[in-house]
Amino acid sequence: MSPQAQSLVQSQAQSLVQSVDWLAIAPPTVAAVVALVVLVADLFVGDRRKALLGWVSVAGLAAAALALLPLLDGDRSTFCLTGDADVCSYTADRFTLAVQFLVLGGALLTALLSMTALKDAKRELPEGEYWFLLLSSAAGAALLPASRDLATLIVALEVASLPAFALVGLRYGDRRSSEAALKFFLSSVTATAVSLMGISFVYASTGTLYLTQIATRIEDVDGQLHTLTQAGVVLTLVGFAFKTAAVPFHFWVPDTYVGAPLPVAAYLSVVGKAVGFSGLILVTVIALPSYADVWGPALAALAALTMTIGNVGALRQGATRAYSAVRLLAWSSVGQAGYLLVPIAAAAYAKDTERAVGSTVAYALMYAAVNLGAFAVAALVARTNPLNRVSDYRGLYASRPLTALVLGFFLLCLAGLPPGVIGLFAKVTVFSAAVDAGLGWLAVVMAVNVVIALFYYLQWTALLFRAPEGESEPHRVPAPLTAAIALTAVLGVALSGAPQLVLRFSDTGLF
């Protein structure tokens, strides 16, 4: 064969075989590979050395997070159409990296919390399976923000969700745990099914699954199919709204959080939400910008309802009820989901959609750090007070001054008041997205909600510094738990000093 013919064959072969940019897909891949390694290794590791699996998982998640570093220099895409290099299934742009960092960092902190939880559970939780499920779910969640076609999106959503059901119900012989898992599973599956139906409608009317192609083709859909498309748009959003725990898809949250092992609840509150809102952003802003008049008002109403019902729910939690601390965090996470939705709704009205969406990413990063921190302290307190009532936190300052100060800081960050400067400015960006888009009414609803939320956050904070009732016995805090609390506290304080670190996402192009 002549050299020319050879190169011709080669180029033809290249056009048929997709080239894979392994570096770009490294973060989710590393997590997935480590998941398999842990599952296999579980068979060969003796009972007494199961803790090793935990360290391997933590190292794996850290490696996956580090794999984000080489991607910082620019956007990369892979799994592109052979005919059209601009249409890709996987894109690692700034949005993807930010959300992947959130997901992998959140999973890493969850893993640190889990090591203590697994040790304390004394073999009631199967370790190998636990780590496998956690890592797989994290891999799915990390894949989701990068996916740029609806099929990958749904697959990622399921990879992130299915292990989570199992994680919730993993505890042997615990009725509450399995009940929570069942509730979570049934409602989640329904939501996904509705979502799939919506996607099929959208596919039927546009003939493509790629988000960017949908965006262009949906503008000139046949008039007869118009209703179908609109229905498709709304139904597609349902599945992601469920993941974000937006009202009316929120009822599973409190019971699931209480029934699940505490680290899993923390994981769901942060990573689960990240999955939901990044999916929402991709579908709304990238695929359906021309349908902004449909999803904009819907999301705005959803946001207003979600924050109001979440905060009122949190307000109604009695301090002495069993598991009230976790319940309160669960309801407050519903309220916070409402704030996360505000900028996405604002994107429908704003001239600069990326800026608005960036506010959601910035807020989510803040929320992830401080909410995981709050859960970490809750995990610490749960070691001595397994019922984890809010009233158990009374006088924490007397026995553990530093922990109490840190928890107070986290709660005030969530409330958005100084000294929680980062919480305040994250709220300011969300407010500013709403005001910028002319959604004055939503901003006012949010303002009222901030006041409602302050009531329960500050009540809890104030409780920490009251005189303690009775002596609490000191115990050593396990190293992973200390690391998790310290890491989140340092993050929170550093961000308060330099809010630009996360707020920059609300200022520059993400996609």
């Binding site: 008041l417 305040l424 300011v428 910028d436 104030a462 510094f465 200022d507």
Partner: protein, 525 residues
Amino acid sequence: MIDISESVMQVLLGFIVVAPLIGAVTALLPAPPGLKGKSPEQAVLRHGVTVTGAVLVAAVVLVLGFDHDQPSKMQATTDISWIPALDVRIHLGIDGISLPLLVLTALLTFLCALYSFFKMPSGPSPKAFVALVLVLESGTLATFAVLDLLLFFLAFETVLIPMYFLIARWGGEERTRAAWKFILYTLLGSVVMLLGLLLIGIKAGTFDMVALATDSHPALTPSVQVVAVLAIGTGLAVKTPMWPLHSWLPDAHTAAPTVGSVLLAGVLLKMGTYGFVRILLPVAPDGMSTFAPYLAAFAVVGIVYGSLACLALARQGAKGDLKRLIAYSSVGHMGFVLLGIASMTPTGVNGALFANIAHGLITGLLFFLVGALKDRTGTTDLDTLAQATGAALYGRAPRLGGLLAFAAVASLGLPGLAGFWGEMLALFGAFDPADGLSRPAFLTFTAIAAFGTLLTAAYLLVVVRRVCMGATPQEEGARLTDVRAYEFAAWTPLVVLTVVTGLWPKTLLGLTDPAVQQLLAGGTR
């Protein structure tokens, strides 16, 4: 007065804002060897005095270095980018409007720290107390020193948490409810204010107060200004407080510990009126003139309402609480401040700023005195104190009685004392309001407000009559401890300044007037 280089001034201003914060953190740490003092409590209280003292010294040096020939010029300015994403800049600076308030804050906080060093309010550990007072100081000083809208909001919010804990932990009866009322009310106000600030910042494209005041921003159309003034004004009016948004104030004042009341009345309320002058007047003049008549109307209702409430509390058999009475009198006094601002004239605004300072000095002194009275007699209830004839403080503790009478007379606006000038100038301003404001309406307001001064005089004289005069009981133990040395130390500066500013108002007006003239003419520079 003395020539200090600009960079030193910058450092001083930065120090004033940051030092209390650092002090608050170090207050929580154990005392280093050598500074342990007699006990940990004593050491931390002394730490509080040291830090606030250092801040006061810095503030005084700032006054000395301030170029008094150009009070309208922003001095000691720092301008560093902090959060580019939100366009937040650490922009600090002082002019003739903010300097007096800055010094007042530093002074009152120092006096409070000094007072607490000798007389710690009963409650949990002094460690947290000192830390909270220092955070509070930092927040208030920052409010007066920053020139960025979002930073102003941050400083505005910083005071909430410390004040909440000061009331809820070291307060008197009903403190939990009062503390909640305080924080929820003011937070709702300030979040609404944030919406207005964002609206202005987003429309104009900058959050910088100086740029907003000097440059013209065509995007800030009258309709935008009206919405912005409504939102920002509501937030500031809650803090000031303006009738009918005042209802958190009497409870908070009554329940707060002495030091808390002094700082609340002396400093925190000024943040509201300062915001009106610094932000609303120069940035949204059109919106302001739309709302000025309403603001003035609410202000005069506040004046009359506050006075009537005080009269009702001062009556015999009304079970009136002295602290609550002074709180209501604050509503009236702040009414004068708001009336001066609403006139939108240099005279009125100067009067408002003067009345601000005077109210801080006099009401601060009054709360100190009532706190001292409570320590001695165990009550602030007027009826219990006065019995049938009167508490006879002149006989039982002559110096304390004399000081109380002095403060009351200063508060009612006796010429020659600080209280006089502010209220008179505010009335003058309202008598001849700015162009575009309805003269007849403002004349009516002036008349009602002038009637309010009479009512003010009436209730304060009733208080003096019932607390200071009366037949001295002859039995053992009727005499009260008279003013102690540390009390003298804490109160003398306030008395002296009340007299000095009363006799020589130019000390203050010379500072504020040029700045106000420039502000109303459209620009701070």
